[in-house]
Structure formats: C-alpha cells, structure tokens
C-alpha cells in the first residue's frame, strides 16, 4: 500500500543518515565562511535567526545560502525523527525497553521546534539602558515593565568582573517577579531573559554656583526661587553642548563638558522667558542677566545606569522540555545499555 510505504519512508533510518550527513557536509563547508566574514556572520548571535536573515543574511546569498539549506535539512531530519518517535509510540508494548533512546529522539524534535519558534518570533535587544529607579517597558511584551531598584558593580583590581542588579518585572502595577540578577543568574520569566551586562554613569545635572543662593544641584525639573522675585525652572540639560552660528544648540556627547541649560524664567512679566544658556561659552542671555541669574557649573552630577540584554524567546520553554527529555533519555539509555546488549536486543537494518 502506498500509505504504508510512505510512512515507512518517513520512518526510515537510512533517510535519517542521508539527511544528517548532507546537513553535516553543508554546515562544514558553510561554517568555514563564518570567521572569513565577521561583519556578515558576527551579528548572528545578536539577532534571532530570521531577523538576521532579513537584515543581513539575505543581502549576501552567495555566502549565506548554506544557512537556510542546512536549516531545511535539519527540519526534514526533525520530521523524520518525529515519525520514528510516533512509530515507536504505536509499538510501545513490544518496544518499551527503548524508552531512553526514544526520549532522546523526542528531545531532539522538541529542541528543533523550540529553536525554530524562537528564531521566527523571538526578539533580542542589547545594550538596553536603565537608570536606578527607572521603569521601562519590556521590548516586545506589552503591558510589562522592568524596574531597576539598585545596581552594584563588583570590581577586582579595578576591573569590573560582575554587576549585581536588583530587578523587578511588573505587569501593569503587579510585581510578577523580583530577581537580584548577576552574571549567570539572569532574571528568567518563561520566555524572557534579562541579563546585566555592564554599568555606566550618566550625567544628570551639575552642582552649580548660583551666587545669590550659593551652590545648588541643578537637574531637569529643578526650580529655584530668585531672590528678587520669580522662579527659574530647569527644563533640560545637555552635559556637553555648543551653539551653532545660526543659534541652534546641539549636544556634543554624553560625558560632562560644556553644559547647556534649557531654562524657563517666571517673573512678573506676563509671558515667561525660555531659552538655552551655555554658561561656559557665553554670557547670560539678557532676560536672565536682568533677573540676576548667573550660573557657574562646578561639577557634574551622575546617576548610575545598567546596560542589559533583553531576550524574548518563545521557543525556550519547549526547548527546555526537549533538553529535559534528552537528559532523561540519555540516563535511561545508559542505564539500560548493558542489559539490552546481554539480551541481544538490537535491530539490524539492511
């Protein structure tokens, strides 16, 4: 019967050997291109496979064709393995002694599906910056937020060797989980992995000499009472900036240099004055000078931030199930190996 012949073909071990060895050959050849084209293949680990293929892989098919070909062969091998597994299930009564071997087969199928799933609908974001106390939306998970409570670098001989980040994952206002994450101990929640990578310091403002009041800490949102009446509000600060000849103020970098303050002056005038003030570059704008505002930035104010890798891999729970099945299968197969060999329990395929 055709149906039966087709099923036997799908379960055929010879087909498995052909698929696996062709896949191996393709990957042997292809993988040697990996170190030769680091700009092409390097980002393969920074993106899920499909996103990599769309953005980079498909741009140079003459170097990357082997990736989809090997993928297709492995998918066929996975299908072949699944058929073998189903065939075993159907004949479980006579073949239960092979449970270990077939848990390995099932594990392989689950791992493959898990990998495919994650490659197609996963998301990977590197270098996500969260400052202490900040709450950010989790990329790709609407309604979920990450909150960084504290951050503590671990240094050895002046070099950062680890970073300890107290993180909270929230859905809406509800805390789903809390984790003190560090190297090898990420925040893991089903398909989400949050890994602290490094830390840095962000200039958030300046300790500034403001002659009538003495030294003040200016950060966006600060408000200063001006002795002669009125209020000075700090709307924004660029830690290092310059003014173009046309008058436009541009940011030159994130580290402290010549700061620029975007200020708003509320005084008796009906309309508040608003504008940029670059105290290290130019005299105070006339409106500020009249109100007696003269700022002299003394030193930057820092707030530490963490840099995180955030990965969403919807295939991970399935892959983890596959790994568990394979692990159990290996243990079973090892334990039963000698017993089966004594019984002469061994298929012969011609």
């Amino acid at each position: 019967m055709f149906g039966q012949r087709l099923w036997r073909f799908c379960c055929s071990l010879k087909l498995a050997i052909v698929l696996a060895s062709t896949g191996t050959m393709v990957m042997i050849g292809g993988s040697l291109l990996i170190p030769a084209y680091p700009r092409l293949f390097g980002p393969m680990d920074q993106l899920p496979l499909l996103a990599w293929w769309r953005s980079l892989g498909s741009q140079a098919p003459s170097h990357t064709w082997w990736v989809p070909v090997a993928g297709l062969l492995l998918v066929l091998l996975g299908f072949n393995t699944l058929c073998c597994f189903i065939d075993w299930l159907l004949n479980l009564r006579s073949r239960w002694r092979k449970t270990g071997e077939y848990l390995v087969h099932l594990g392989f199928v689950l791992l493959l599906i898990g990998y495919l799933w994650g490659s197609i609908s996963g998301l990977r974001t590197e270098g996500v910056r969260i400052t202490i106390g900040q709450t950010i939306p989790v990329p790709g998970m609407s309604g979920h937020y990450l909150q960084l409570e504290t951050l503590e670098p671990v240094l050895a001989k002046g070099r950062q060797i680890d970073i300890i980040a107290d993180l909270r994952l929230l859905r809406g206002d509800t805390v789903l989980t809390r984790k003190v994450a560090r190297t090898n101990h990420p925040l893991l929640q089903r398909s989400l992995v949050v890994i602290p990578l490094s830390f840095g310091q962000q200039v958030v403002g300046f300790r500034t000499l403001f002659p009538p009041l003495g030294t003040v800490h200016l950060t966006p949102g600060s408000r200063l009472e001006i002795p002669g009446g009125g209020e000075l509000r700090v709307l924004a600060i660029y830690p290092n900036a310059t003014r173009r000849p046309g008058g436009q103020v541009i940011q030159r970098g994130e580290s402290a240099g010549r700061p620029a303050f975007l200020l708003q002056l509320h005084s008796s005038a009906a309309v508040p004055w608003q504008g940029w003030y670059l105290p290290s570059e130019e005299p105070a704008p006339p409106a500020l000078a009249v109100a007696g505002v003269d700022l002299r930035p003394l030193e930057p104010l820092y707030r530490p931030f963490g840099l995180f890798t955030i990965t969403l891999d919807p295939g991970w729970p399935l892959a983890a199930a596959g790994a568990t099945s394979m692990l159990a299968g290996i243990v079973f197969a090892l334990v039963s190996f000698y017993a089966k060999r004594r019984r002469g329990d061994r298929p012969e395929i011609y």
Binding site: L13, K14, A16, I17, A20, S21, G23, T24, M27, I28, S31, L32, I34, P35, F41, M44, D45, V104, Y115, G118, R124, V154, I161, D162, R182, T183, N184, H185, P186, L188, V193, I195, T309, I310, T311, D313, W316, A319, A320, A323, M326, L327, I330, A333, L334, F337, R346, P347, E348, I349, Y350
Partner: protein, 265 residues
C-alpha cells in the same frame, strides 16, 4: 607548589612504564607482565585522581579553567576511559593509543603554569563544570573509539592472535561511541543551558558552536550506523577515525587556526 611539577612527573613515569610493558606482554604473553602493567596504570590513575581531587579541594572548584588544568583533566579522563575498558574487557595493548595521548598531555602540562586563580563570575556555575567535564570524558571515549577503529583495520589486514578478535573490537568500538555520544550530549545540554543564562540564547552561531553541534550530529549518526549492515565493522572503524578528526579540529584546529568567542579561549 612544587608538587605540581613532581607529581605529574611521577604519574607520567608510571604510565610510561605501563605503556612499555603492554607491548612486551604481547610478545611474551605472561599474565604476570599484564598484571604489573595494569597495576602501574591503576596506581598512576589513582595518584592522578588524588592530585585532581586535591587541586579541586584547594581551588574550591573543579580546576578546568586554564591550559594546565584542562589538559590535566583530559589526561585523567583518557586514563579513566582506558581503565574502564581494561577492567571490563582486558583490552591491554589495544588501548595504548589512549595512554599515549594521555602521556603527551602530561608532558605538555609540566611546562605550564599550574596556578589556581580565583574563579571569575562568568565561570562560577556548576553548568560550566558539567559542560567541560562531560566534554572531555566524551572526547576521551572518542579517542578510545579512534584507537579501536585503527586496531580493527590493522586486525583485518593481519588477522593476528595478539590483538583482540574483530568481533570484539567492533563491539568495543560501538560501545565507546555510544558512551562518548552520551557524555557529549550531556556536555551540549549543560553548555546550552549555560549559554541561555549567560547570554540569553542557547545556541551560538560562532564556529565553535556550529562544530560542536556537527560533532554531536556525526556521533549521533554513528549511533545509528552500527545497525546498518553495510556500515558495520570496517565502515564503522573508518567513521571512528574520521570522527576523531572532526573532534580534533573542533578542540584544537578552530582555536589555533581561527578565532572564536568561546569563553575558554
């Protein structure tokens, strides 16, 4: 630590003495020689295990983080695999290749820095220890399969009574491949879980990751090939030799020829 120079040397001398007795035993066929050779190997292995255990205790972690430690561990795994087959099947000189590689590793170890640096947080996880330990034990079984494969081909040509019969060599080879595959699967599983918690993805497309998967796929193929009539015996012996070539390239070739981002390099 002076013992890091002296002990490997004593262990090496014991292995060397055993390795010289085994071929003599092939000539003289005296059970006494075989016993002495076995005794020397077992003593060397016991010393090696003690030394490994001592360094483990000193460091507080299984020392497999630098070249001295990994080569010493691999050498220990090779000797362990050899003893397993020797105890079970009295393979004698049939496993000499493994002892020979083991000695080469010990010689190379003696020139290296034996320091036990504090474990950096990136490697401070049992997943790393399991990953590395199972990989080396797996490689040791693959080395044994290589040795048995070469002997199978030799025996097929010579038909000598000094070597184990073909049927036994074939069975031992299949067993070494199966046990090696089982260990290597565990190595890959623990490595993948480690990658997931360390990087957020469990399969890396760097060349070492791809080749480790290929090694695994190759030996999984061999676990099946033994059921196929045409691949039994000679075909299997050739596959064992080729497989070890792939292992060597993955372990040494990639590190030497090409750069990779594997954490151990």
């Amino acid at each position: 630590m002076p013992e890091t120079k002296i002990l490997p040397f004593i262990i090496l001398v014991a292995y060397l003495a055993a390795a010289s007795l085994y071929p003599l035993q092939l000539r003289w066929r005296r059970p006494g020689v075989q016993h002495v050779a076995f005794g020397l190997t077992a003593t060397a292995f016991a010393l090696q295990s003690l030394f490994l255990g001592y360094r483990w205790w000193l460091a507080g972690y299984l020392p497999v983080t630098n070249l001295f430690s990994t080569q010493f561990f691999f050498s220990w795994a090779l000797a362990g695999v050899y003893l397993y087959f020797e105890l079970r099947y009295r393979i004698g000189a049939a496993g000499l290749f493994v002892i020979f590689v083991n000695m080469l590793l010990l010689i190379s170890v003696m020139g290296r820095d034996a320091a036990l640096p504090p474990l950096i947080p990136a490697l401070d996880t049992p997943l790393f220890t399991l990953h590395v330990a199972f990989s080396f034990v797996g490689y040791a079984f693959f080395a044994m399969a290589f040795s048995l494969g070469v002997l199978y081909l030799l025996q097929r040509r010579t038909g000598t009574s000094r070597l184990p019969p073909l049927a036994q060599l074939r069975r031992l080879n299949e067993e070494a491949i199966f046990l090696g595959f089982a260990c290597f699967t565990l190595c890959m599983l623990f490595g993948s879980i480690w990658a997931q918690v360390a990087w957020g993805y469990w399969f890396s497309w760097n060349i070492k990751g791809v080749w480790s998967f290929l090694v695994w796929l190759f030996y999984s193929g061999m676990c099946h090939a033994k059921f196929v009539r045409r691949w039994q015996g000679t075909g299997y012996a050739i596959l064992s030799i080729a497989g070890f070539g792939v292992v060597l390239f993955t372990y040494l070739g990639i590190g030497l020829l090409l750069s990779s981002n594997h954490p151990l390099e």
